[in-house]
Structures are given as structure tokens and as C-alpha cells.
């Protein structure tokens, strides 16, 4: 029998517990069992140590005429409290490592989703090539593998309800494997400090969140269809939705105020001064280039924006351009 079998057999509690949030993934119940095991182990040790300390402090308090007994060292005792904890930690290490590895291996038919971190939002790309930002739909009870990267600084993809976390590192792929087991919304945080925008409201490490929506297979399929085409929406409505979902509003305002990037208000047809001293009329080609290769021609004053490149199909780009023309 595997040493960590009890963790695999652990029952999932129906709601959150005193110290841990609600569980929505397959490894969560085992995680909580392990957490509470080490918690109670610590409580017992702590009560033993502090209890003995307080008892001795009271029992051997200084009294007139009573001298401290001379100290007699005991190698036997020293070896006891060296060797017994040694075996305890071997067991703890072993159980926790095996369980960790067991969870880290993705199953072969896992749904593979690309996760991209950029300051300060998360964007996702499904196996069918369609992408969206700030929200990720996953079918319940289907193994998932996230392949993650970062386009600027270190971030960390942290989903408390799944008891999972992994850093995203520029220039490197990292992975997470899990199976969502409960329908509902799971909050995603960035757990590796990544700064904040200089202008108020432009976001930062603290606002770099996302929601994972765990839904039934049918709902997932329906959502896939929705995001790959406009459905019954007009192009500019679809474009607005895409802009919203891609997290563009984190840096670009629609009310004329400057964020980390230039405002969308009246962007189409505007004349922009570029950082290299030249200027450009904002037309379809400039907008298209600025979405696909944001750093090719940067507007003066926004050199530190570091906008990451976005990938859209032509149909989506057209819709986004249609929307941008309407922001006046």
C-alpha cells in the first residue's frame, strides 16, 4: 500500500473549514487531510513543550533555601530526542513528497490550456486556439494541464480552491496539473510580487486576478462556441466583449484619462506623436500592428507601458477595430 494512500482516500468536506477555503479540485481533500495532520501534530508538540516549560517554571520557582539541582547530562536522552524526530521527519517528508509528485503528473488525455501572465492580468488560450482574458472556463471532472508563461516579470498562478500554485517565468514554460471536481467559481491570484502602475487605478500585483469557472461539459462546449464566433452580436459589440475579456481596460481608459497606455476615447483618426519623434495617424493598420506587435510604434509618454503582444484571429481583430471606431 502506498504510504500516502490515506490522503487519496480522504473525503472532501462540503464547505470551507476553519483554516482552509472550499475545495474544488481532486487533490484538495488529500491536501486538507495532510494540512490538518501536520497542524494537529504541531499542536501536540507545542502543548507538550510549552506545557512542560510552564509546569517547570511553576514547580521549580525560586524559593528561599532551595537550590537548583546540579545538571547531569544524559547522552541517552539527547540521542532519543535526536533520533525519534529524525524518523518522524523521514515519514513526513516521504508522504508529502510522494503526494506532491502524484499530483504533479498530468494525465495523458488532459485538456491543455495555455496561460499567459502579463502585468497585471492573466490571459488564456484553449486547445481550439481561441483565447480570452481574466476568465477561464473548465469542464468539471476532466483532467487539465496548464502550460504557463510570462511575458514580462515573474508572476505566480495561485488558485486557493485547487490548493495549487506555480510561478510563471519569462523565457520558460511551467506547468500545473489538476482535475476540477466541483462546479462554481474559483478565484485566481498572482502570488509573486510584480509591482503596480504609477497612475492611480492602473492596477498592480494586488489586482492581477482571474476567475476560473468550473462548468458542466455541455456548458463548456457552449462557451467554446460562443467565444469562437460573434453569435448574434454586432461586430462592435463582439469587439467590446473581446476587449473587456482580454483585460485591455486595465491600462486603457474610455473616458479620456491616461492610464498605463493611451486612452481609447477618440483613438481612431487621432494623430499620435511617437517616442522616436515621428507621428502617425491612427488607422486600421496602425491599430492592428499595435495589438499584434505593441512595441513597434509606441506613443510618446507611454514608453514604460510594456504592453504584451496579443494573438487574435482576423475575425476578432476586425471586431475589435469596429469597436474602437465607436469609442468617441
Amino acid at each position: 500500500m502506498l504510504l500516502f494512500q490515506p490522503l487519496l482516500d480522504a473525503k472532501e468536506p462540503a464547505s470551507d473549514t476553519a483554516q482552509l477555503p472550499v475545495i474544488m479540485s481532486s487533490s484538495g481533500a488529500g491536501y486538507d487531510a495532510l494540512y490538518y495532520f501536520i497542524y494537529w501534530f504541531s499542536v501536540v508538540f507545542f502543548v507538550g513543550i510549552v506545557g512542560a516549560m510552564l509546569y517547570f517554571v511553576w514547580k521549580y520557582r525560586r524559593q528561599k533555601g532551595v537550590k537548583a539541582a546540579p545538571t547531569k547530562d544524559s547522552t541517552k536522552l539527547e540521542l532519543t530526542w535526536t533520533i525519534i524526530p529524525f524518523f518522524m521527519i523521514i515519514v513526513m517528508f516521504h508522504v508529502s513528497f510522494d503526494f506532491y509528485i502524484h499530483n504533479a503528473v498530468a494525465s495523458e488525455n488532459a485538456l491543455e490550456v495555455r496561460v499567459r501572465g502579463q502585468r497585471w492580468n492573466w490571459s488564456f488560450q484553449y486547445p481550439n486556439g481561441e483565447g480570452e482574458g481574466s476568465v477561464l472556463y473548465l469542464p468539471v471532472n476532466k483532467p487539465v494541464k496548464l502550460v504557463m508563461s510570462s511575458s514580462d516579470v515573474l508572476h505566480s498562478f495561485f488558485i486557493p480552491a485547487f490548493r495549487l500554485k506555480k510561478d510563471t517565468v519569462p523565457g520558460m514554460y511551467s506547468q500545473l496539473a489538476f482535475t476540477p471536481t466541483r462546479e462554481g467559481e474559483a478565484q485566481v491570484f498572482c502570488a509573486e510580487y510584480c509591482g503596480a502602475g504609477e497612475k492611480p487605478g492602473s492596477g498592480g500585483h494586488y489586482s492581477m486576478g482571474a476567475i476560473i469557472k468550473v462548468v458542466s461539459q455541455a456548458e463548456y462546449d457552449k462557451h467554446m462556441q460562443e467565444i469562437s464566433g460573434p453569435g448574434d452580436k454586432k461586430p462592435d459589440e463582439w469587439g467590446k466583449e473581446l476587449v473587456q475579456k482580454s483585460g485591455c481596460y486595465t491600462c486603457h481608459s474610455v473616458d479620456g484619462s491616461a492610464g498605463t497606455g493611451p486612452t481609447y476615447k477618440g483613438i481612431f483618426g487621432r494623430k499620435e506623436n511617437l517616442s522616436d519623434g515621428s507621428s502617425v495617424d491612427v488607422d486600421e493598420n496602425y491599430l492592428r500592428e499595435s495589438i499584434l506587435r505593441p512595441n513597434a510604434k509606441v506613443v510618446k509618454g507611454f514608453e514604460n507601458g510594456n504592453m504584451p503582444p496579443f494573438v487574435f484571429t482576423d475575425a476578432k481583430l476586425d471586431a475589435i477595430l469596429a469597436y474602437l471606431k465607436t469609442v468617441k
Binding site: 512542560a52 517547570f56 537548583a68 545538571t71 530526542w81 513526513m92 515573474l154 523565457g171 491570484f189 498592480g204
Partner: protein, 548 residues
């Protein structure tokens, strides 16, 4: 009472029997080669740093009182928590016990007149000040917003703050740390009084010795890392930049290769202070002297092998995480050995609960929590959820504040009569202890639960569900702050109008309590010859145990 003001201050050579504080004038401090005066200057410097870092901490907690903006914007918040970390780590906690307290007590405990290289000792202090100036310069120019860890590529390419002077500060202060380490190692080897064998070495000296080894071996790695970071930021070399073939994770490895051992630079001397306090106030030799001494060296050694546990979720290979997890668990063994031996020392002792002892026992209470929560984080599977959350923040504050700061303050109470020749108000000292102890636990106990429930660290804003716990923590920080203010008032009163301290106010048999308070210029009135151990209470006469 050998403490009469020196009649020789001024032109003539000072009287070696007079107090080391007797000579007056700024120059007598700035150009002193006396380890005690250098120690006192360090003490003032680290206490000022502690005050500064403490103000930052109160501001951070105040901002987190409510979700959204409370008193500052996000960028300011990032600067404030970064400065809190940088100041507390590099300016306060690393030099606190070794450079300030160790400087004063090490030669006295060794029964000698000074450290091995007095001029080098003064140079270390000025290098520390020089480094601190760079830190100050950075703060005036807006400070840093990188966190005290300076992770790349944020620190090398993205941050607009005064990163270079701050890194320069840490780089320069590293040399101070190395030179102090070299000095202490030489002192312990070469300057022990006649009869003071290794087996009779006080446990605080053992702890300082172990700490010095870490300082000498680990700090150069930090220096190289920070230098590379400066090159990277200025010259864009690409060492840590993936677009030029570099690797940001490499920086994390370099950084923690120093900064994890640095944790032991902080905690090992604290354990030495606690060993001294517990023996003195139990009137009993330490149980397992040899094991306590060796566990300090054990921690120093293991400290070099566990840096990878800071990278468990950074994308290291699974097999590296395995090795680092196993090694991290091993740290529990020498830490446990120390705690068990302290408890066994209390057994059948004659225990006096005066303020230094309260801090000694407080250390055991808080460090046990800090150590046990370390087990959560050593377990790979458990760490994955807790990493970079408030659980980690709470854990290392239990070790750094509950451990090192409590021991530092305890040592200050313990040796205060020796440093200043004055006693302090015991009642106020106990009130301060109670406030600090309660305030600390309220502040950080709540953060364990915040973290395990999923609150990431270094967040300016938070979800409404975390509000209550954040508010409990902020209220705790106020209690903690009031405790330190009471303590400050008590110490200032003692300096101004404290009762004169006797040579041996605690009835200890250790060497430092056999010489006048405050310490005479040459530490001892005549050259001491050691004939028994520092904790041989069973050999002591009534007279030696009497508290004057």
C-alpha cells in the same frame, strides 16, 4: 563599586579601572578602538534602524486596515513594505545581536581585553555607516519598490525606483558583516582567557562563533549577486534576462544562497542569548551543553543546504525540490535539540521570572510556533498552497521577531546593567513584555489563517472576505507598538535616573558578572584566570549567588 569617574580623562592616559563610559567628548567615541564603545555605537545605530523599520511596519498595517485605499496609494505601499524589509533585514536584524551585543559581550565572556583586531572592528562600524548612507540616499530619492528580495527581471528592467543605491547599501554593509565575522572567529580562537577551554566556552560565544562562520562564507555570495544585479541594471548584460539568454531563476538561486544562511545569522546568536538567560535565571548549568553548542554549528552548516525551499514553486525540477525538502526537514533536528535542552535545563532549577527570563521563555513559546509552522512549509505538497501567502509572512515573523527580536530585547534587559551601570524599572519592563507578547501574537497569529485561507503576500488591496483578519492583525500591531514605546520610556528613564547597578544583579556565576558594572575600560580589574565553567552553579558559594 569600582565605578568612579576617571580622573584621567583628557590628556593623560585613562585609568583602566574606570568605567568605559567615563571618558567624555564626541571624539572619544568616534575614534575609539574599545569594543564596548563600538558595540554601543552599533546598538544606537540598530535601534534607530529598528525604529525606522517599525514605523514602516505600522504604516503597512494601517494601510491594510480597510480594503482599497486607506492612507496611501499602491505605489507608495510597495515602497513602504519594501523599505520595511530592507531596513529590518540589512540595517537592523543582521547586525543586531552579533555586531551590537556580541561586540560588547564577546571579549568580556572570553575574559579578555578586546577583540583580536580593534581597528578592523571600528572599520566594520564605519563601513556599516557608509552603507547605511547609501540606503538613506536611496530613501531620499524615493526608496525601492522591489521588496527586500530584489527579484529580477522586475528589479533589473521594470522598477523605476532607486534600486542601485539600495543594492549598493546592502553590498557595502556585507563587508562590515564579513569583517566582524573574521574578527570574532580570530577572537574566539586566540583571545580566550587562561583556563577558558572550548568546553568552558559560554554558549553565547559558541553561537557567535557559528554565526561568524556563516557571515564569512555566505556574505561574499550576496556581494557577487548584488554586483551582478547592478551590472545587469546599468549595462544590460543579460545574465538574468531571458531575452538575452539569461535566467531570472538564477538570481533567485544566488540570492537565497546567501539569504537563507542569513536567516541563521539572525537566529543562531538569538539562541545563544536565550541559553545565557535561561541558565542564569534557573541557576543551573545548561542540560546538554555540548549538544546545544554543536547544534549551533549544525544549524550553521545546514543553513547552506536549504536555499532551494524558497524556490519550491519557482519552476525547479521536481528532483531538486525533493532534495531541498528533505534537507529542510533536517533543520528541525538541531532546532528541536536546543528547545528540548532548554526545557530540561529548567527542570529542577531555581527559576526567577524577572524580565530577561520572561523574554527567554517568550522566545521558547514563539520560536516553537515559528519552527513548527516551518514543517508545514518544508512539506512539498503543503507548501504549494501556502507559498507566498500570509502564512509565510507569519512564519518568518515568528522566527525573526518572535525569535531574534525577542532574544535581542531579552539580551538588552539582561546585560543592560553591565552596559550602562544602571538598573531599570522592573514593573514597567514586565508591562512592556506583556504588551509586546500579546501584540505580537495578535498581529501574526491572524496572518497564519489569512495565508492558509489564500491571501497572497505583498497585496495593497484584498477581497472583502479577508477584512476581519486584516483588522485583527492591524490592531495587534498597535498593541505591539505601544509595548515597544513603554520599553523605550523605561530604558530612557533608567539612563536618566536609574538605580546604580551592582556587579552581579542576577546572582550569576558567569565571568561577565564578576567584573564591575558598567564594565571597566579593560573589562576586568585584573587579568582573569578561569578555573571552572560559566554555568557551574553547583560549585558556587552563597556569596557568588547573592545578587550584588
Amino acid at each position: 563599586m569600582a565605578t568612579v569617574a576617571s580622573p584621567h580623562s583628557g590628556t593623560a592616559a585613562p585609568d583602566p579601572h574606570a568605567s568605559y563610559l567615563a571618558q567624555k567628548g564626541l571624539a572619544s567615541w568616534l575614534f575609539t578602538l574599545d569594543h564596548k564603545r563600538i558595540g554601543v555605537m552599533y546598538l544606537v545605530a540598530v535601534l534607530v534602524s529598528f525604529l525606522l523599520g517599525g514605523i514602516m511596519a505600522i504604516l503597512v498595517r494601517l494601510e491594510l486596515l480597510t480594503p482599497g485605499r486607506t492612507i496611501m496609494d499602491a505605489t507608495t505601499y510597495n515602497h513602504v513594505f519594501s523599505l520595511h524589509g530592507v531596513i529590518m533585514v540589512f540595517l537592523f536584524i543582521i547586525p543586531s545581536i552579533p555586531a551590537a551585543m556580541g561586540n560588547i559581550m564577546l571579549p568580556v565572556q572570553l575574559g579578555t581585553i578586546d577583540v583580536a583586531f580593534p581597528k578592523l572592528n571600528l572599520a566594520s562600524f564605519y563601513i556599516y555607516c557608509f552603507g547605511a548612507c547609501f540606503g538613506l540616499y536611496s530613501m531620499i530619492h524615493g526608496g525601492v519598490d522591489t521588496g527586500w528580495t530584489f527579484y529580477t527581471p522586475y528589479s533589473s528592467k521594470f522598477s523605476n525606483s532607486a534600486v542601485i543605491p539600495m543594492i549598493g547599501a546592502a553590498f557595502i554593509m556585507g563587508f562590515s558583516s564579513i569583517l566582524t565575522g573574521v574578527n570574532f572567529i580570530a577572537t574566539v580562537h586566540k583571545m580566550r582567557a587562561k583556563g577558558l577551554t572550548w568546553r568552558r566556552l559560554p554558549l553565547f560565544c559558541w553561537a557567535l562563533y557559528a554565526t561568524s562562520i556563516i557571515q564569512v562564507l555566505a556574505t561574499p555570495v550576496l556581494a557577487i549577486t548584488l554586483l551582478l544585479l547592478i551590472f545587469e541594471r546599468v549595462l544590460h548584460l543579460g545574465i538574468f534576462d531571458p531575452s538575452m539568454g539569461g535566467d531570472p531563476v538564477l538570481f533567485e538561486h544566488f540570492f537565497w544562497f546567501y539569504s537563507h544562511p542569513a536567516v541563521y545569522i539572525m537566529i543562531v546568536p538569538a539562541m545563544g542569548v536565550v541559553s545565557e538567560i535561561i541558565c542564569t535565571f534557573s541557576r543551573r548549568a545548561p542540560f546538554g551543553y555540548f549538544f546545544i553548542a554543536m547544534s549551533s554549528l549544525g544549524l550553521a552548516l545546514l543553513g547552506f543546504l536549504v536555499w532551494g525551499h524558497h524556490l519550491f514553486v519557482a519552476g525547479m525540477s521536481e528532483y531538486s525540490t525533493m532534495v531541498f525538502s528533505a534537507l529542510t526537514f533536517l533543520v528541525g533536528i538541531p532546532s528541536g535539540v536546543k528547545i528540548f535542552n532548554w526545557i530540561a535545563t529548567l527542570y529542577k532549577g531555581s527559576i526567577d521570572l524577572r524580565s530577561p527570563m520572561l523574554y527567554g521563555l517568550g522566545f521558547i513559546f514563539l520560536f516553537t510556533i515559528g519552527g513548527l509552522t516551518g514543517l508545514f512549509l518544508a512539506m512539498l505538497a503543503v507548501d504549494v498552497h501556502l507559498h507566498d501567502t500570509y502564512f509565510v509572512v507569519a512564519h518568518f515573523h515568528y522566527v525573526m521577531v518572535g525569535g531574534t527580536v525577542i532574544a535581542f530585547v531579552g539580551g538588552l534587559h539582561y546585560w543592560w546593567p553591565k552596559f550602562t551601570g544602571k538598573m531599570y524599572d522592573e514593573g514597567k519592563a514586565r508591562i512592556a513584555f506583556v504588551l509586546v507578547f500579546i501584540g505580537f501574537n495578535v498581529t501574526f497569529m491572524s496572518q497564519f489563517i489569512l495565508g492558509s485561507r489564500g491571501m497572497p503576500r505583498r497585496y495593497y488591496d484584498y477581497l472583502p472576505e479577508f477584512t476581519t483578519l486584516h483588522q485583527v492583525s492591524t490592531v495587534g500591531s498597535w498593541i505591539l507598538g505601544v509595548g515597544f514605546i513603554v520599553m523605550l520610556v523605561m530604558f530612557i528613564e533608567s539612563l536618566a535616573s536609574g538605580k546604580k547597578a551592582t556587579n552581579n544583579p542576577w546572582g550569576s556565576v558567569a565571568l561577565e558578572w564578576k567584573t564591575p558594572s558598567p564594565l571597566p575600560l579593560h573589562n576586568f580589574l585584573k587579568v582573569p584566570v578561569v578555573t571552572k565553567g560559566p554555568y557551574d552553579y553547583h560549585l558556587a558559594t552563597e556569596e557568588e549567588l547573592s545578587e550584588d
